[in-house]
């Protein structure tokens, strides 16, 4: 079969690989009908997250049709079922899964010794996302083996297109969780840094969760226009002062809830000198992340507010203003997404026509063009916001 394979920094190729095989009674194999390139795949493309090996298959936003199952499905999944695959692999039986903390499932990371060394404890296995999270082959391929498939799936009813439901695998629940963990109240202003796909979903989620005002911060006109269409007031950080505009829009109080949908690769530019220093340190391996957005959020968030971080951070961040964080009494909530905690509700909302996540798709191509699309998406060329691949 064909698959998009990581060979090194900025080197993703469409390779011919062997087909996946069932290894365990709880495994299933799906024929992938749609998959997507995620913003966090770009961190791997740039080799900013350790633990990738040449030959690793990329991709954690995938859906398709079940073509083979192991013997341990207990009737939960059968050949012909159409499923979306959550990016977090879950056993459904450990204490964390029972609590709904699916992204820290204690069972599914098959290389848990690595995670325990780096994070202190194991976290869930993830598709196509380094050997720290199990080294599972990803879904940017024609076929995907889904481990623990009896629990790691979202069954899709008839009548919904791939484009409507594909993002239940990651970005929609990720944006939703980011907004949900803000505990939004009807008077709240929610400020969202980054209008990439997760930021766009967070904007819609904040609206659906009843925020009084949503403010979106980015510098790309196409992303700002999409954010505006979703109900956000926008700030272009290249032409406006984020601090002045946020103060103005919140009567000098600052936003009660802040969402970091940017993560470890903040935009580097001279008017944000800390980003230049971070980038220099990153290059010399003295720091793994560029946490400019985090610093800005801590500084600008209203005292007593909440900072929600769906953006990916990989390791160590310097110069975090802990004094401001502590003295302002801010609450920080973060984590990989507990996808299955939210998907029943989100699937119902899609089916009811409350939201259609396909709005974010700007490019649809076949798998062979995947490597070029990584560059196009990274370079923000051709007004690209989200790429869907059709194997």
């Amino acid at each position: 079969m064909k698959a998009l394979v990581w060979h090194g920094k900025e080197d993703i190729r469409c390779d011919e690989v062997t087909d996946p095989q069932i290894e365990d009674p709880r495994d299933a194999i799906i024929k992938v009908t749609s998959c997507a390139i995620c913003g966090s795949d770009l961190h791997l493309f740039h080799n900013f997250i350790p633990g990738m090996l040449p030959g690793d298959i990329m991709g954690h936003e995938t859906m398709g049709e079940v073509v083979e199952t192991g013997d341990g499905m207990d009737g939960k999944l059968k050949k012909g079922d159409r499923i979306v695959v959550p990016f977090t692999i879950i056993c459904g039986q450990c204490e964390q899964c029972k609590r709904g903390n699916f992204s820290v499932c204690e069972t599914t990371n098959r290389k848990r010794h690595l995670a325990e060394k780096v994070f202190g404890h194991t976290t869930a296995g993830l598709f196509g996302y380094t050997h720290l999270t199990g080294g599972y082959p990803g879904g940017q391929a024609e076929y995907l083996r889904v481990p623990f498939a009896d629990t790691t799936h979202i069954k899709i009813p008839e009548g919904l297109s791939d484009e409507q439901v594909l993002f239940l695998s990651d970005i929609f629940p990720t944006g939703w969780q980011a907004a949900a963990q803000c505990d939004i109240e009807p008077t709240d202003t929610v400020a969202i840094w980054g209008c990439g796909p997760v930021g766009q979903m967070a904007i819609r989620s904040a609206i659906l969760l009843g925020a009084n005002q949503v403010i979106a911060i980015d510098c790309l006109p196409e992303r700002l226009s999409m954010a505006e269409a979703g109900g956000a007031t926008v700030i272009d950080f290249k032409t406006e002062s984020v601090m002045d505009r946020l103060q103005e829009l919140t009567d000098g109080r600052g936003p009660e809830k802040c969402i970091d949908a940017t993560g470890m690769e903040s935009h580097v530019m001279p008017s944000q000198p800390d980003t230049i220093l971070d980038r220099a340190k990153q290059m010399l391996m003295l720091e793994s992340d560029r946490p400019h957005v985090l610093r800005e959020m801590i500084y600008l968030c209203r005292p007593g507010g909440v900072i929600s971080i769906p953006g990916v951070y990989s390791g160590f961040s310097d110069k975090i203003p802990m004094g401001a964080l502590m003295n302002k009494g801010l609450t920080v909530r973060t984590g990989q997404t507990h996808v299955n905690r939210w998907t029943d509700d989100l699937l119902r909302r899609i089916a009811d026509g409350e939201i259609d996540p396909s709005f974010v798709i700007t490019h649809t191509v076949d798998l062979e063009h995947g490597p070029e699309m990584y560059r196009l998406f990274r370079d923000k060329q051709d007004s690209c916001v989200k790429v869907v691949l059709k194997p």
Binding site: G231, T362, P371
Partner: protein
């Protein structure tokens, strides 16, 4: 490399049979070559400054050469990174500094001024390559052809309906709590 990684994969995991083409724009290849050249030259300047100053008749300027070496190494690392464009521009600026330093050695009394002239000529050539690389690796945002998405709300029933529905749910929740 992937042959080794193939051995480490589990039985059911796909393994590479045939690798596809690598997509590397020519400008990136140029940046890579210039990056390694920069690191090599920087290392020479850092660790053998006397040899360089003797060749150019600039004895006594070893500290300056070492500083230039550090600058070259940093530019080289940047040119090899994903921020290659900044690395190449820093090389262009560095070429200017190198040229200025060499010009100061082009005096009548310098017995090695022929070497200096040769070095200046080389810097001129390399500066042209650096400039070309910097131009070609610039990520042009294509401002003129940007598409905007003002009609992509994501709410099939409209933004106002989405806001109303949310308000209703919130007021219902509040009422049931009180």
């Amino acid at each position: 490399m992937y042959y080794v990684a193939n051995i480490m994969r589990s039985k059911g995991d796909p393994k590479i049979v045939r690798s596809g083409p690598r997509h590397v724009p020519p400008a990136n290849r140029l940046a890579r070559s210039l990056g390694w050249f920069s690191i090599g030259l920087g290392a020479l300047e850092l660790f053998a400054p006397r040899r360089i100053t003797r060749t150019l008749g600039m004895q006594g300027n070893e500290t300056l050469v070492r500083a230039f070496g550090l600058r070259e190494i940093f530019s080289g690392i940047m040119s090899l990174s994903v921020d290659r464009n900044a690395g190449l521009w820093s090389r262009v600026a560095g070429d200017g500094l190198d040229a200025a330093a060499l010009m100061s050695a082009m005096t009548r009394h310098n017995p090695k001024k022929h070497n200096v002239a040769l070095a200046l000529l080389m810097i001129g050539g390399i500066a042209m390559l650096d400039y070309r690389g910097a131009q070609e690796t610039a990520r042009r945002p294509q401002n003129g052809r940007r598409r905007l998405y003002p009609d992509r709300s994501g709410f099939p029933k409209g933004l106002a309906a989405a806001r109303d529905a949310a308000r209703k749910v919130l007021s219902h929740t509040k009422a049931s709590v009180s």
